[in-house]
């Protein structure tokens, strides 16, 4: 482990984050609100801190990175970015506790969308934009962005990319990692822009449209309004946002294929088919359930709210147009299950990912099959391609860790005095990077009332979920530190 080199890269990342604060600052200056001073202060501190580390260790530059160092950089980098991203909140008026600012910031970068704010609308515009903007940075990955922009990350970039991209088998769209990162970010920015324009056509103000576009494509879920998307109460906007949430939940390499003129790629990809099929079935069941419970008078209305909520949770976005806690038990349980399902691998969504669930089912089926035919040699295939033992092992290990850590965190959170439903919902919603959970952290509530140690626990859960467990957890393995 070359710690100095790791510090050097993390320094570069932090400095880079400091420069991105120009974006909210510009808005703050434009609206001349209370955000200018805290933003300027944090920007100065972030650039200084990053710059000092960057310059101090610049002699440590080497050509290559190994997997261990890649993982260490990503985890340390994300923690540092979460910390410096919290500064604008911490310096703002309104007596933010450090833990609250850190919670909000990590919730932003990990695209969770869990907030400790009861009154979002009271925030100055600059800070509201920063809140949405960090989700946008975190969605496609701040490290992937740095690989695309900062030239010196080129060589070791693959290790960093593997550690950050949420997928058991990261795709490389182009021979060079830099080109891959550039393409991903271009597709991502293009979709965000189109969504913003569509939202504005529906009558949203430029500021609200920009903020919501910044939080839809990364499946983030921060809104500029207290009532989330329900505030706008427009079927058009609901469907625009549903559409882009679904896009964000699909593997971005398929979007790239689409833009290159191969729309059939969506259909050929097994995972994408599974994802879209699951969405349709779940939407149908929940619509029928809320309609027959007479929560909505028309089938159309039931469909609109059910579709929004199911898509919002499955893609792990976490926008709300309805308080699903008033829905019947069946719908609530389906939504809870959706929190674990998650979006596609290689998308910006969180959760366990459809791909892993599919592989897990196939593996279970194979086990049963080999009980019937003990001497049969079988392989697990996906879309005609054999899935290697190694990938299968890592998938099963991931699922076991996910469930295990979920259970453990729930118990610990309950130990801090949080009630059962809330603890269950809060951990599921943070480890899956969704946002709103159940009970006291439901869609119309927030995380302010969770006790302080509970908040630290949930911050840890969010990072675990976003970086797909292994990258973070490996830092706790003693062998990792041995020379």
């Amino acid at each position: 482990m070359r710690w100095r080199y790791i510090v050097y890269i993390v320094g570069a990342l932090v400095m880079f984050l400091g420069f991105t604060m120009v974006v909210p600052l510009a808005f703050g200056l434009f609206y001349t609100d209370q955000s200018v001073r805290p933003l300027l202060k944090s920007m100065g501190m972030t650039i200084m801190a990053g710059g000092v580390l960057f310059l101090l260790f610049r002699k440590e530059r080497t050509a290559s990175l190994n997997q261990r160092e890649g993982m260490a950089i990503v985890t340390v980098g994300w923690t540092a970015v979460g910390f410096f991203g919290a500064l604008p909140f911490y310096f703002a008026d309104g007596h933010w506790e450090l833990v609250d600012a850190f919670f909000e910031s990590v919730s932003g970068f990990t695209t969770t969308g869990a907030s400790i704010l009861a009154n979002v609308e009271a925030l100055p515009k600059g800070l509201l934009l920063w809140r949405s903007f960090i989700q946008w940075l975190g969605g496609m990955g701040i490290i992937v962005l740095s690989i695309a922009i900062l030239p010196f990350l080129g060589v070791g970039g693959m290790q960093l990319y593997k550690a950050e991209v949420p997928s058991p088998v990261p795709d490389k769209l182009k021979p060079r990692i830099r080109d891959t990162a550039k393409i991903l970010w271009k597709v991502y920015a293009l979709f965000s822009f189109v969504q913003m324009v569509l939202l504005m056509l529906g009558g949203m103000t430029f500021f609200d449209a920009l903020c919501h576009a910044f939080t839809t494509m990364p499946t983030g879920g921060f809104s500029t309004r207290n009532a989330s998307v329900a505030h706008f109460d427009s079927a058009y906007m609901d469907f625009v946002i549903i559409f882009f949430m679904v896009l964000a939940g699909i593997n971005f390499s398929l979007h790239y294929q689409l833009l290159r003129g191969r729309p059939l790629a969506f259909w050929k990809d097994r995972e994408c088919r599974f994802f879209l099929g699951a969405l349709l079935v779940l939407i149908a069941v929940v619509s029928w359930d809320v309609f027959s419970a007479q929560i909505y008078n028309s089938i159309g209305g039931a469909f609109r709210y059910a579709a929004f909520q199911v898509v919002s949770i499955v893609t792990t976005t976490g926008f709300a147009t309805a308080d699903y806690e008033t829905w019947p038990a069946l719908s609530q349980h389906i939504l809870l299950a959706c929190m674990f399902l998650g979006a596609s691998a290689g998308s910006t969504g969180g959760g366990m990912k459809c791909l892993r669930i599919m592989l897990c089912f196939k593996y279970c089926y194979k086990e049963l099959f080999s009980l019937v035919h003990p001497r049969a040699i079988t392989t697990i295939k996906l879309g005609g391609q054999t899935v290697s033992e190694e990938i299968m092992r890592s998938v099963l290990g991931f699922l076991a860790l996910y469930v295990g850590l979920f259970g453990l965190s729930t118990i610990v959170l309950a130990g801090f005095g949080v009630d059962f439903v809330t603890a269950f919902g809060a951990v599921a919603a943070t480890i899956g990077n969704i946002g709103p959970g159940f009970g006291a952290v439901g869609p119309v509530e927030n995380y302010a009332l969770i006790p302080v140690p509970g908040k630290w626990l949930l911050i840890w859960c969010m990072l675990l979920g976003r970086l797909e467990i292994y990258t973070v957890l490996i830092l706790l393995v003693p062998e990792f530190w041995h020379k």
Partner: protein
Amino acid sequence: MKVLIVGAGEVGYHIAGRLALENKEVVVIDRDADALRRVAENMDVQTINGSGSSPSVLMDAGIRQAEILLAVTNQDETNLVACLVADILSPSTKKLARIRGADFDPYHEMFREQVPHIDTVINPEIEVVKTIERLMRVPGAVDVGEFADGRIQFVGVNLEANARLAGVRLSDLPEIAGKQRLLIAAVVREDELIIPTGRDRLLPGDLVYFISEGKDLLGALSILDKHAEPVRRVMIIGGGRIGYRLAVQLEAQSIYCKMIEKNARRCAVLAERLNKTIVLHGDGSDQNLLNEENIGDIDVVVTLTNDEETNILSSLLATRLGARKAITKISKFSYLPLMTAIGIEQVVSPRLSAINTILQHIRRGKVLSAVALKGEQAEALEAVALETSDIVGKPLKKISFPKGAIVAGIIRGEEIIIPTGDTVIEPNDRTIIFAHRRAIPGIEKILAVKLEYF
């Protein structure tokens, strides 16, 4: 520039690594997932698991956008078919294939002119035999290469502690060398390659690379205290394809030649085909056998078995028993840096020669040949100075040369010029450039025609 490499073996791996470092788009295709993992983990390239001779795999890899296809699997047949398929899918892609079978030797030209239109057929074994012959001829040389069709040679020699030049500053060199023309282009010191300036001193233990005209070579070597001793007796250990080729060449030059081969059947075949060479059945690392065959009187021992370790041990044993010089074939690149340390100086590597041939075709501009120096840290290039390139028309000192590169020689018609800072390169001169690996992209830039940028 996009390059497709079929085969992730030793050659494919190293070429991919070099090109990836030079920021080219590289795609590596292999059937072996483990070999690909080794590639993907160590360098920034794309890997595709599949057969390189399959059209669908080649299409997936983007053959249509590729400028160059390198077919370097272990099988000649796969390489040929890969080129054939590529020729159908994308005729404009340049194709290079490694084909080692001696049966194909007479057909290399035909492969180029007719289907599958392979632009360059690489047979590293032919190259290796040439290198071995050069190493035999040049006394004290650790590394020998040729430019301008053999008129200029570049030679690497180890500087002994008692040599005249040890400790001498390069700017003082002309006084000692007198009328001899000797240009020191590069020095390898403690595994680091230095492109020296006039202020640098030569130290004992340095590996010194210089270039010289063919006819002045022996004179140049005598300045470095390396004196010619004719080669009369050679022993070849290992009677494989390279060993056989070498023996045939040596017979033609009337050099007395003995060959040791382990496999009795192979011995019979060799004995049938070779006329004057004495073919011995036995183990090259058997001390008794070597003594019996008067190893002490042998001028050069060449170890060419397929087993790296046997080659190394046989060479060490032979020099210990009194052979004057040993040339060792090494294929595993990870062993190369160890060789000097264990006392083996002259090494040939078929894979390194394959890489050299491939490199010269990948270099932009009109590069005639390119040779990777020891340890692959640097290259020596021979290139034609094109009329509109940056290198032409200005005194050398005014050209913004990348750091770590030097113009070591200029060939203008019949004349060979050892350049100074005031020398001006004219269009169509051939230049010989030594460059550190870091400086290669910069060198490519100044050699390329400017039009390329518009």
